[in-house]
Amino acid sequence: MSNKQQHPNLLSQGVFIFVYLAVLTALEFFVAVTFNSVAILVAVAVVKGALVLWYYMHVNKLSEGDESSHESYAYKSGTNRLGLWLFLVSDSFVFGGLMVMRLSLLGMTRPDLSQTLGFFVTAVLLISSFFMNRGEVELHNGNRQGFLRNTMITFVLGLFFLLGVIIVEWHAVPAIAEPILHLFGEPEGKPLLTASSGPAGAAFFMMTGMHAFHVLTGLILLVIVWINGKKGLYDEKQYPVEAAAVYWHFIDLVWIFFYPALYLIGTAV
């Protein structure tokens, strides 16, 4: 807690990073619908990923820590932080494997889905990450109310994303899905993408399914830190909030790569 002075900067830093990410996401979309250069799409995704890793997930915190006593809260938090990151490394192998599966089965083709809808859900997740970051910084600043408010917004947006994917993209509730898909320019009577309809469907459902499962667990974590935060449990010992935030950003990070893989690169089949 020695760097209290910097906190206002952290809040505005969050805004800047969000603006960068938003611009890059728009750029990505533009590239995809105009000249569809895979190289540029990959490069943009990598830059976005790096921004999230560094500024939202603050991976650099891994190397800092209070070495004086193994029993201090700071030292134990450092150990927990390492544990969390190891878990995320492990988890990324699942997503990496799914990516390999997608590239192997679909190559330079992609599922035939509304790109604007994809852009929309991506934006929702991106904005949720912004609020998550704000929530974490507010808590760090000692503003419990700000933390609770921002975490709540993150949760609502995350839930919105999850329901959007399941209800609309998966067509789980056709009565809701139909009009929305129509709104996003999907023609009437277009054959549905289903899990068993072919490689595109299989890859799409598997990848979004695995991601959605992680969103669900992230939401549960958010509920937990919100409730405990309300009780004031994290005013001093803040590591659990950091963990929930890093996990939430990780979910966003995965989507930064899954989104172009499913909605942008190659030609629709």
Binding site: T79, L82, V89, V94, G97, M101, L105, A202, I224
Partner: protein, 683 residues
Amino acid sequence: MKNNTLGRAFLFLVIAGAIGYGLGLGIDFAIRGGLKFTASVPSAFALLFGFTAFFFGLYGYRGITRGLVFQVVGTIIGAALVTGIRALLKREIISPFLFTEPAWVFGALVGVVSFFFGVGVMTDWVKWARGIDTPDHHEDEPGWQKYFGVSLDHKVIGIQYTVTALFLLAVGGTFALIFRTELAASGLDFLTLDLDVFNQNGPQLYNTLMSLHGMIMIVSILLGISGIMNYVVPLLVGAHDMAFPRMNAFAFWVAVPASVLLLLALLLGGFDTGWTGYPPLSSRAPLGVQMFFLGVFTAGWSSILGALNVIATVVRMRAKGMTAMRMPILVWASVATSIIALTATQLIGLSFQLVMFQRLFGMGFFDPSKGGNPVLFQHLFWFYSHPAVYVFVLPGLGVISELLPVFVRKPLFGYRWVAMSSLGIALVGFVVWAHHMFTSGMNEYLRVPFMYSTMLVAVPTGVKFFSWVATMWGGKIETPTPMLFVLGSIVVFLLGGVTGPPNAMVALDLHLHDTYWVVGHFHDTIFGGFVFPFFAAIYYWFPKATGRKMNEFWGKVHFWLMTPSFFALTLGMMFIGLRGMRRRIVDYDPTLGFDGAHLFLTVCAFLIAISILIFFINFFRSIKHGEPATGNAWNSRSPEWQVPSPMPAHNYEVPFEVVGEPYDYGLPGSKFVEFAAKKAGTH
């Protein structure tokens, strides 16, 4: 443990097993309208009921018993739920295995999760989530009882792992003896076509036993190395426990429901894919394959979380002065193993999961008629399963390097190189997986690069051998039982090592693939890299855990019976393999002239089994009756031997500081560690 407790447990096992069997028989009768005594449902019920009642008799309704009850009830509730939904959708709801496949899969999943809550590994986490603090440590019950419930002590968990590993070794070994007996002569001898056990005919049962032998042994290895690492690593680095004690307990308890699922795979129709589970065979295999997939998937989490814990412990909890280049080799090896287990394991989980979904939802990942690609499965699968072989052997090789200097009273030769070679093997191991696929129809241009990368592994492995030989050179070699097993490991692993490169040569492998040559090869690597060192480690650290030594005489009998039989077994396997004996088949052509060889191999297998039986008896007897050994039993420099045995609950009462090199045996005046209190005394 009182004898009448054990007697009661067995009595309960028999009674509950019989009740379960009767119940299952009734259900089966209702399904099929006829009595069949060897059907799946009665056997599955007998297993689950009997198992649970056994632990009830032993330990009462808590800990593992409660976990198993929760698992059984959870499975039934989950399966009933899916069955209910299917009934509403007017799909079929009943099968010869009672529930339909989706119902079983979902039920099994619910069962596993229920187990965690039942056994109590989630209790503290649930409290944390509700904002309630818990004490850092929980006091364990005294005596043997603590091993049957959740304990957070890494030493208890290490022993839980080890004993579970030994149990699975016995199960997998029994399977091997059964199918080895079938192979003793050509022609179908007792696993005949008209046999009908667990909904399988004889050859199908052979396939199931062979496949489960493979996977149960692999899970046994994973638990065995976790046992060694859990018990020893915190002691070697001077930590009071692992970095995350609750996750440590969780990682162990995951393995228990996983083992139950693997056993259920045998009873619920079995499967004929081998442990590799390749589609398209696995996408058409009986229900058992789903239980197999789920069991492996669950056990995988044990491996992943255990690895995470080891890395965090080594990075964050080392004693003062233990710089990277002063860490014991076993610690280096554990880190290298854990790096693989942490990351690659996800890929076997994923590949099996994809086949599960292919079966459940018709997603065509590996189904060419739906645009899928079966070779993709093999890539995902071997991306784990090749590195996995290093997960199996690296801790064992670490044990060799750790123990050798103790028994030759000389410094370990080339410490730095040996430390780095573990990491080298682990990293190179990530880029060799496709050497299992030379005949699989993968892209031709991949063959030669994978051939060379595979050969490259021989370099860091060779470093280890040089070090071992040079360490022994001119040493004062003593050969108590642990050292015998160390020497055995080296020789057996050498045999496994030199039979590997021929497989890596594409031109040769086209002929060797899927023959008994390969079976001989990998048994050599696994025995040399895991089984022998595992026994060495048990004989060596047994006094640390119990304060008693295992019996030397019977230890030597174990060694001298097992080693020659094992050599004969694998050399024989390779011999008939080179002459064209296919692997994974229940029968062979008598005109090949292998009958005599196979009979010989079966005899060898039984001799190995007898030697391991001797080990088991020695192990359990020595806990109570072994020769007391509370001091530095092997005259070692390692910190855990500088304090009395058995180890106190929170390890070192006074912390130690590392002041020298770990393996400077025989150098006068050199010291590895110094204890704070002792230091004050000697000044």
